[in-house]
């Protein structure tokens, strides 16, 4: 009986994952095709096989803009979803997300300080586009890293995860306050530069930035796979997890580091992309009806990639010149979807007991 059960479930999940992988590939191609200029799928497939699309300008658009953006979107969706999942399981809280530990606030504070100091010393506007984007990436990264170190220190001191959650929220509040003060004392251009960063953007990464971004995110995702087993034990609650042989302190540290790598890197390179991290784990759990992290991890990576690519297509407003902020699109189209699923499910049994 058991063997049949396990075999049937392996077959079912393998099929589903293959289906989603095919879907991801399809969305990737569509994402490359749509934009201010539509490039036919035939040209794209020949370009991906090392030939030309048949038009030099299309080649240029693909290699300089669309391909980096599509790669970023594919990874960002999964990375945010995974770190949200880890936070929700660690804190046994359905409202937790990748930013509960204050990582995006820390990154935001780093960026705010960089922009305002840059203006103060007068060098910011003279920086070239590349120099400016690296400045933002590095300052956001430093901000996120400082928050991570403080949280890791706090994780050593406090016994329970809920205290840690509250400490993270306090960090967010404090950073937000400092950012407000900085904004209060600065001119309109500074504030505009900061606000544009806070919109989030998938399309701002160059190939050089991608050569840093992709390896870090891949390491984070592989680490997330390896954390599936302790995360599954945590589903029972911390006491049961310890009695099952889990080293709670080590696990908590690893989860925090993993989340910070994923969410911190995404925030540093793409800005604080909201909503996705909280909503994607819920969507995935509801749609596929499982809590097993060994399944949820690949499901979220694939499904998150698909959704982010689709949202990006919408944000491009196909056929038009302008691009909407990705932050607006994710929430605008994601929220009704989550609400619809919740109304259909009628209860929150799929999630955590408080």
């Amino acid at each position: 009986m058991i063997n049949q059960y396990f075999e049937a479930s392996v077959r079912k999940w393998r099929g589903l994952l293959l289906f989603l992988a095919a879907g991801l590939a399809g969305c990737f191609l569509l994402n490359l095709s749509f934009g201010s200029v539509d490039i036919p799928l035939k040209g794209i497939s020949s370009y991906l096989f090392g030939k030309s699309t048949g038009s030099d300008s299309w080649d240029l658009i693909l290699s300089n803009f669309r391909l980096p953006k599509a790669l970023t979107a594919t990874l960002v969706g999964g990375a945010l979803g995974i770190s949200g999942l880890q936070m929700q399981t660690l804190f046994k809280n359905s409202l937790a997300g990748p930013y509960v530990l204050g990582i995006s606030s820390g990154a935001g504070l780093g960026v705010a300080v960089a922009i305002f100091l840059g203006f103060y010393f007068g060098g910011f506007l003279e920086l070239s586009g590349i120099g400016r984007s690296w400045l933002l990436v590095v300052s956001a990264g430093i901000g996120a890293l400082l928050v991570l170190l403080t949280i890791a220190f706090a994780a050593n001191r406090v016994r329970d995860s809920v205290s840690l959650l509250i400490i993270g929220l306090m960090f967010g509040a404090a950073s937000g306050a400092v950012i407000s003060i900085l904004q209060f004392f600065s001119q309109a251009e500074n504030i505009q530069a900061y606000v544009i960063w806070s919109f989030g953007s998938l399309g701002s990464l160059s190939w050089i930035e991608l050569s840093v971004f992709i390896p870090i995110i891949l390491v984070g995702l592989i680490m997330a796979f390896l954390l599936s087993k302790p995360l599954n034990a945590l589903l029972l609650g911390e006491n049961y997890a310890i009695s099952l042989g889990l080293n709670m302190k080590l696990t908590r540290h690893l989860i925090i580091i993993n989340t910070s790598i994923l969410a911190g890197t995404v925030t540093a390179f793409c800005g604080p992309i909201a909503f996705f991290g909280i909503a994607l784990p819920h969507l995935t759990r509801m749609l596929f009806n499982t809590t097993n992290h060994l399944l949820l991890t690949p499901l979220i990576i694939l499904f998150g990639g698909i959704l982010m690519l689709l949202f990006d297509i919408i944000a491009q407003l196909p056929g038009s010149e302008s691009t909407l902020p990705i932050n607006a699109i994710t929430a605008l189209f994601g929220a009704p979807f989550v609400i619809f699923l919740l109304l259909r499910k009628k209860n929150l049994n799929y999630t955590f007991q408080s």
């Binding site: 009986m1 058991i2 063997n3 059960y5 396990f6 046994k92 796979f225 390896l226 599936s228 087993k229 599954n232 034990a233 945590l234 589903l235 029972l236 609650g237 006491n239 049961y240 310890i242 009695s243 099952l244 042989g245 889990l246 080293n247 759990r285 009806n289 809590t291 097993n292 060994l294 049994n349 799929y350 999630t351 955590f352 007991q353």
Partner: protein
């Protein structure tokens, strides 16, 4: 050799001003095949004791041994294959299926990604059929009743294949039928050679299931012994702060009112028991000598004898009515 033993163990927890010690100088041991109940009032330290000997809480003083090794010297993985727990808390996520929950019991043994090996699957299958939960193996936990959930949690502990199983108030929210199911299951587990430690307030578990009792009292040392000895010595009454006249351990019944009008109950078997119960509930005192007498002829016929007058009744309700009338006259 004992599976678990303690030496001069003090338990408690840390507060700002130092240690709050709940129990000190505990020297106990538990062997294969034994069922031991930990009895005491709320707040006396039963759960703290359980968490201490299972390594969830540090001890204040003294040592806990698993076989001949101190548990703090064991790795968490080793400890997880020695002691399994069924706590009062529900699992954090109730969206697990029963089979997934039981499979989590294999956590100390499964591969680094948690993938189950053939041996793990065999154990899960055996445990599921032993505990008789095949019929709900595919259900989600939120679909189960409290009683079913308790059995499933015990199955998870069994899948952990430990020598010792510790349960914190396993029958606390269960109705009688489920309580009996759990007791029967625990008896079966002990008969396979595992040591079972239960914390409980439940008199039936103390008296009918346990091989030995450990009684925890406030501000006095732990008392241990076999249940019947402790009942006869009145130690259980003392531990649970029960009044000897109020609580009848033999029947597990509570006598809430005393000093009512004395009535003699005559007859045999079940009928006498329930007749006496009904009288006590209505405030009469059941004694050996009185003018008022209730004679139970059979489960459908009673004679109420008051001095020389005899009246017959066909239900206990009638009996009570007549007795109340006559007691009002007096």
């Amino acid at each position: 050799m004992s599976l678990i033993s303690t030496r001069e163990l003090s338990i408690g927890y840390l507060v700002k001003s130092g240690n709050k010690v709940l129990q000190r100088g505990i020297n106990v041991s538990i062997n294969n095949g034994e069922i031991i109940s930990l009895v005491g009032q709320n707040g006396v330290g039963k759960t703290t004791f359980i968490k201490t000997i299972s390594g969830l809480l540090p001890s204040i003083d003294g040592e806990v041994y698993f076989r001949d090794k101190r548990i703090i010297s064991l790795t968490t993985r080793k400890l997880a294959s020695a002691i399994s727990l069924v706590l009062t808390e529900k699992p954090g996520s109730l969206n697990l299926s029963v089979i997934e929950l039981v499979a989590l019991g294999r956590h100390p043994y499964s591969g680094s990604l948690g993938v189950l090996r053939d041996k793990d699957k065999a154990v899960i299958e055996r445990v599921i059929s032993e505990t008789g939960i095949n019929y709900m193996a595919n259900k989600k936990l939120f679909e189960l009743s409290d009683g079913q959930l308790q059995i499933v949690m015990i199955a998870r502990a069994l899948a952990q294949e430990t020598d010792v199983i510790i349960l914190d108030e396993p029958t606390a929210h269960l109705d009688l039928h489920n309580k009996i199911e759990v007791m029967r299951l625990l008896k079966k587990i002990a008969s396979q050679g595992k040591a079972v430690l239960i914390s409980t307030h439940d008199i039936q578990i103390c008296a009918q299931l346990s091989d030995r009792l450990w009684l925890f009292n406030f501000n006095s040392p732990l008392i241990q012994g076999i249940p019947e000895d402790l009942i006869l010595r009145g130690a259980i009454h003392e531990t649970l702060f029960l009044d000897k006249d109020t609580f009848d351990l033999e029947h597990g019944t509570v006598n809430l009112s005393q000093g009512g009008i004395p009535v003699v109950v005559e007859g045999t078997g079940n009928t006498v028991f329930w007749t006496a119960q009904a009288l006590r509930r209505k405030g009469f005192e059941v004694t050996d000598k009185s003018d008022l007498k209730v004679k139970c002829n059979n489960p459908a016929e009673w004679n109420v004898i008051s001095g020389t007058k005899t009246r017959s009744c066909s239900s206990l309700e009638q009996v009570l009515n007549i007795l109340e009338q006559s007691s009002n006259l007096q």
